[in-house]
Amino acid sequence: MTIMRHDPQHQHCNHSDPGRELIHVDCASHVYPDGSIGIHEMCFHVLKDEIVALCGQNGSGKSTLIEHLNGLLVPSDGDIVINGMSVARGERADLWKEVGVVFQRSEDQLFAPTVLDDVMFGPLNLGMSKEDAHDAAIKALEAVGAVDLAKKLPNYLSGGQKRLVSIAGILAMKPRIMALDEPTSDLDPVHSAMVERLILEFRERFGISVVIATHDLDLAARIADRVCLVKNGAVYAEGSPREIFYDTDLIRDAGLKQPDTVMTYLDYCHQRGVAPEDRPITRAELVTLLERLTTQ
């Protein structure tokens, strides 16, 4: 994979691999009622089995894009094709079965009187029987480590607990695509590692594609197959985490900072006066590399 830079003046949407494409955002724009530009001529795609991370400054349009993916927002221009169904042409009656979205603000997502009811809501709408839905819900709650909250009222949870429950609500539906907006914000490191593991596991076990919007670039580096840098409502550059996160200028242009691991490595090379030849992006890689560099 090489970095693809997108020309802000003129965007092309080329189908990268039409056969495997699950989501194709075709030059979509969205203007909010007050005239704010949410996204602008954005081109973006997600392949089967892929984990894509959206990274970008505050207000760059990540959440706006995510809310388009299951038809909650409709593009004012351009189109979004999910699994062959065009949103603009209104072929989107049950988009929600395809794409599960976890909102940035988890309390927006919880509405049922108890946590269990809330997690069961999706499965029931999928037509599961009450027992199956119950099982699915309990399993999902177990997966995120929140099964002891089942009987609580969603509005009486702590910030992180709400996030866990809202992720469980989507997990329980096993959609083909999951779009998670800031899945780990408000989560403590242990739960956040749990969610991270889950995302990977879902891809392995069920072939679920995942889109995450996140500010935790270390997380993106660890789990994403592809990183899209979002800037001013459009994808500014995309590529593998290794390429993107080692392109210091690109990251700065997007208004971001390199992940900690990358900075540690670069700083280290700088201090030792050697050229950074490798590109570690996870802690394990970094440690191995440092060890090798030391013993050389």
């Binding site: 909650l72 909102f103 049922a112």
Partner: protein
């Protein structure tokens, strides 16, 4: 948001705050007094020419203020339906030239040209009032409104008014986000009430309690930044200028004229 045809108060506020035209610089007092004059005028007169002239002037002002006319017209839906459906029951058997008659089990209902005219008159009156109210809302900053409210209303009333206005945004946002959440997992209000009725009873209760608790929190957050019931103390309302006084006088004159010309106009 919830429906195309319900005025979106976020958008209304946004207009009011971003406005920078003559109309938003004019004194809120002028607009307030004009509102009273407009309501009096449409109560007093049923003359279609006068009404049409008023309507035209108000629409022109809206256009000049750069208000989103498309939205305003969408928001007309409810008032129009209110008038048509209620008055629709009452326009039958007016005097005038009959247009056609219906015979329902012995009752004969006749529609006349006067009946049609009546519905038009009432409709136009309604639209004048609605449009002017929206114009007022969409060209006046919130700070001025709250100052007006605390001048016009005695104490607990003004507090209730102002807090309620704030909470309204929360409650509507809460309702909207609930709808969003339900839809994003395959529910629909009607559909879900049918299939999961028991659950939805709880959902209603919960939304209510939740918005209440959020209101409580916001109120506490305001207290945490020094709110003590006098939100508007810092705003001075601009006084009407000479031109504005002129307009107000003209309005009063119009009322007197209508009284004088059509002594029975108000049904006295």
């Amino acid at each position: 948001m919830i429906s195309e045809h319900i005025p979106d108060i976020d958008l209304i506020t946004n207009c009011a705050e971003q406005q920078d035209t003559v109309f938003s610089r004019a004194s809120p007092w002028t607009k307030f007094l004009l509102l009273i004059i407009v309501v009096l005028l449409i109560t007093l007169t049923s003359n279609l020419v006068v009404l049409t002239a008023m309507y035209a002037i108000i629409l022109l002002a809206c256009v000049m203020a750069g208000l989103p006319m498309r939205k305003i017209i969408a928001w007309y839906a409810m008032p129009v339906i209110f008038v048509i459906s209620l008055v629709g029951l009452m326009i039958w058997n007016q005097p005038g030239n009959p247009l056609f008659s219906l015979d329902i089990g012995g009752f004969v209902l006749t529609l006349t040209d006067q009946g049609i005219l009546l519905i038009f008159t009432l409709l136009e009156k309604a639209l004048i009032s609605v449009t002017f109210s929206l114009f007022f809302l969409m060209t006046t900053k919130y700070a001025y409104f709250s100052a007006l409210v605390s001048r016009l209303f005695p104490t607990p009333l003004d507090q209730i008014f102002l807090l309620a206005y704030r909470f309204l945004f929360l409650t509507l946002a809460m309702a909207a986000s609930m709808l969003k959440a339900v839809r994003s997992r395959g529910g629909g209000i009607i559909h879900s009430i049918r299939t999961q009725g028991g659950l939805f009873a709880g959902v209603f209760g919960l939304v209510f309690v939740r918005s209440f608790e959020q209101a409580e929190r916001v109120e506490k957050a305001m207290t945490a930044r020094g709110y003590n019931g006098t939100y508007a103390a810092h705003t001075t309302i601009p006084k009407p200028g000479i031109a504005e006084c002129g307009i107000l006088c003209a309005g009063c004159l119009a009322i007197i004229l209508i009284f004088w010309m059509v002594p029975h106009a108000g049904g006295w």
